[in-house]
């Protein structure tokens, strides 16, 4: 069985901070590289020595199960030495300034740092101060580049392309980093993106990012190739953004009846964790059109690709 070859590498960036900075060629490079790594997951022994001797710090200031495990698994499969710091309970959460954290990390001289933080721009601050490569694993409502990449990878698997597809993203657009990274990626790759949700969860001027805005879920679903549902929190910082989960499900919950408006071969995605019965009906989440678990599986391959490309760029420099 022939495996897809790892493409000729043209990656030069020290860090992966967001999709907004990337060219469509760089995005394709990551996706193509991920295909090669996905083949590894099919093998009986899923470990390769690619990052042997490299140290990777997983620095999660915000709770995360999916993304952190996915990165850890990617690191292990690449034979990197991984070190985990999580926000709660570590020195990192005890009032130490971010700059001091950065200095401490620098002293440990890791090759790569994976960072998740509740505040936008924190990965950029670290990238600026560290020689290590920095991968943004989610910064506030700003970006979550590896999520968008794994989403694109999943869409490509099913649709064989991104250009020309109608992708409808639904939910709390304002507070979602997943949305922003996905919009940047899909628009760059030529997809047509529609965002839908309540006005109280729609950020101002979102259309400037190159998307259609709809407040009518049914209209937004019409002829969609891909439907991406977002986790909804009805209350943020004590502010109620929607009257009730019951009303939310009535207006913006994805049911099978509603999904009939999308194309017959439409796929349903969710970055997780899901609120069943709030933004998505279980019948849809577990239905035939759902690719939600494939997204999770693909996340590992995409993150392996990103780790690999960044460490290769480091070798190029040394």
């Amino acid at each position: 069985m022939s495996e897809p070859a790892i493409p000729e590498v043209t990656w030069t960036r020290k860090d992966l901070l967001g999709i907004a900075d990337l060219s469509s060629e760089e995005i394709e490079l990551i996706l193509d590289t991920a295909e090669a790594f996905q083949a590894i997951a099919q093998r009986p022994i899923k470990k390769v020595p690619t990052l042997r001797g490299k140290t990777v710090l997983n620095l999660f200031f915000e709770p995360s199960t999916r993304t952190r495990s996915s990165f850890e698994l990617a690191e292990k499969r690449l034979s990197a030495d991984a070190l985990n710091f999580s926000g709660s309970g570590s020195a990192l959460s005890k009032g130490e300034s971010l700059l001091d954290t950065a200095r401490n990390l620098e002293a440990m001289a890791p090759d790569l740092v994976i960072i998740r933080h509740q505040h936008p721009g924190v990965p950029h601050l670290l990238a600026d101060r560290l020689d290590s490569g920095v991968i943004n694993a989610g910064d506030g409502a700003h970006e979550h580049p590896t999520q968008a990449l794994l989403d694109a990878f999943t869409i490509r698997q099913h649709k064989k392309r991104l250009a020309g597809l109608k992708v409808t993203i639904v939910g709390d657009i304002e507070h979602s980093r997943v949305v922003r990274s996905n919009i940047h990626l899909l628009v760059k790759m030529g997809a047509r993106v529609t965002v839908a949700g309540p006005r109280t969860m729609m950020p101002v001027a979102i259309e400037k990012l190159g998307v259609q805005v709809s407040y009518d879920f049914d209209e937004a679903l019409t002829d969609a190739d891909v439907v991406m549902m977002l986790r909804v929190q009805l209350e943020r910082h004590g502010r109620s953004l929607f009257p009730s989960t019951r009303e939310y499900f009535q207006v913006f919950g994805l049911t099978q009846a509603r999904l009939a408006r999308a194309k017959a071969d439409a796929i349903v995605m969710h970055p997780g964790p899901m609120n069943r019965g709030v933004e998505i009906a279980s019948a849809v989440a577990d239905g035939e059109t759902s690719v939600i678990l494939e997204q999770v599986a693909n996340g590992v391959a995409v993150r392996m690709a990103v780790l690999y490309l960044l460490s290769l760029a480091q070798q190029g420099k040394s």
């Binding site: 300034s97 971010l98 505040h119 950029h124 601050l125 409502a141 950020p203 910082h237």
Partner: protein, 429 residues
């Protein structure tokens, strides 16, 4: 004691003067302005050939941080910063620790200023005790001690009933009520202007309407009470339009704008890569707001340019954007920025700029100064319109370094000041 400032271009909008004149100072006051004054051996002279001679510039919105936050700034370093920037007087806000809500703090600030002598200080007292927004502070006693206005700046007066009382009570002492116009509920956890750039960066936004609803409410209260109302650091086109319209109706309202709101937009937060030097309140607004404010400078709606000089320690600012304190320095950049970008950029006449930095602010707070008319205290600023300067935060007179303008190359600078007829020497820090 006599002193002649010779050969300069005197620009004094308060008298409609823009001409090459000699200026005579006697006993700390301006006594004569003539085409040629005879010198004499006992008279000191300053050669102002090639320079512009203006009334001493006044910044009516600064934070000197003393007492309580001396690690950010002191009265002495703040006034040294003022003198270095060409200012002969500043009005300082009440959000110190303890708050300037009673006579003892007012007197402390005035005494500290007297000892350093770089520039004059006019303290602004708090509207409410402890800036808590509940009960009026001892306004009368503070005015007797030297306070020239009242403001809870840093915080708005959210309670409309308290604002109404303040506008009524301040009339006993003929001091204006200065509002930091911001509805805190609309601000929420916002850290930058709400618009395309907050959306792109995923940072919580502060909508322009958070300022506008407060200005609208206050203009109604000002009209209702006939109280003197002043909008601090006005930043939106809509607020400006409301002030313009209120003035037309005869409401006793004035407003100031800050240089950064005239020269930078919210996009800078992105292009600077989340620089905390771009974080202040009100936040950097949109291009259309900037254009509206500039129109307000030209048509007279804006009464003063004021810097909102807000020193913060590097340890406080060198953090992620979301947790950094709001505020930037202004005293040592305002004049060069305005000369280069506003006058040099063809937006404002020099005399209009001088007005907005002297007679304009003096009139807002009812301060002496802002004029070189015979009989006035000889507070004077010398400008060199051709001086090329590079902003260097590390050489500021201020204790702090938080400026978004570090490294900017500008044409035009203040090159000296006189305070009551005496040249101000900055010396070593």
């Amino acid at each position: 004691m006599k002193h002649i400032v010779r050969g300069g271009r005197v620009v004094d909008p308060s008298q409609g003067i823009d001409a090459r004149l000699d200026l005579l100072i006697e006993d700390g006051h301006v006594t004569r302005l003539e085409e040629h004054l005879e010198g004499a051996p006992e008279i000191d002279e300053t050669d102002a050939t090639g320079l512009v001679v203006t009334p001493g510039l006044i910044d009516i919105h600064v934070h000197l941080r003393e007492p309580g936050f001396e690690y950010k700034e002191t009265v002495a370093t703040g006034l040294r910063s003022a003198a270095a920037g060409g200012f002969t007087a500043v009005a300082c806000m009440a959000n110190t620790q303890p708050v300037n809500d009673h006579r003892a703090v007012t007197e402390l600030i005035i005494n500290q200023a007297r000892q350093c002598g770089y520039a004059k200080v006019y303290p602004i007292g708090a509207i409410s005790k402890g800036l808590a927004g509940k009960e009026l502070a001892e306004v009368g006693d503070m005015v007797k001690a030297g306070v020239v206005a009242i403001s809870d700046d840093g915080l708005p007066v959210m309670n409309a009933a308290l604002m109404r009382r303040a506008l009524l009570y301040a009339q006993h002492y003929q001091v204006p009520v200065i509002q930091h116009a911001e509805d805190l509920d609309l601000t929420g956890d916002g850290v930058m202007h709400e618009g395309e750039w907050s959306t792109r960066l995923g940072l919580p936004g502060i909508p322009g309407v958070a300022e506008d609803v407060m200005v609208a409410r206050d203009l109604l209260l000002s009209a209702d009470t006939a109280g003197r109302y002043h909008v601090a650091h006005l930043s939106t086109g809509r607020s400006l339009a409301m002030v313009r319209e209120a003035k037309r109706r005869g409401v006793a309202a004035t407003c100031e704008v800050a240089p950064h709101h005239l020269l930078l937009t919210d996009q800078e937060v992105a292009t600077s890569g989340f620089s905390t030097a771009m974080k202040m309140k009100p936040p950097l607004r949109s291009q259309s707001d900037v254009e509206a404010l500039i129109e307000g400078l030209r048509d007279g709606t804006v009464d003063a340019i004021a810097s909102d000089h807000a020193p913060h320690h590097p340890d406080e600012k060198d953090v992620q954007f979301s947790v950094a304190p709001f505020g930037i320095l202004g005293l040592e950049t305002t004049v060069s920025l305005c000369l280069d970008r506003l006058v040099g950029g063809g937006i404002l006449e020099l005399s209009r700029l001088v007005h907005l930095l002297s007679a304009g602010p003096a009139s807002v707070l009812g301060l002496p100064g802002g004029s070189l008319a015979p009989g006035q205290a000889a507070d004077i600023t010398l400008l060199d319109l051709d001086r090329e300067v590079t902003v260097r935060a590390e050489s500021f007179g201020s204790k702090s370094r938080n400026t978004p303008f570090d490294g900017w190359q500008l044409r035009g600078a203040a090159v000296g000041t006189f305070l009551d007829g005496q040249p101000v020497h900055l010396g070593d820090a």
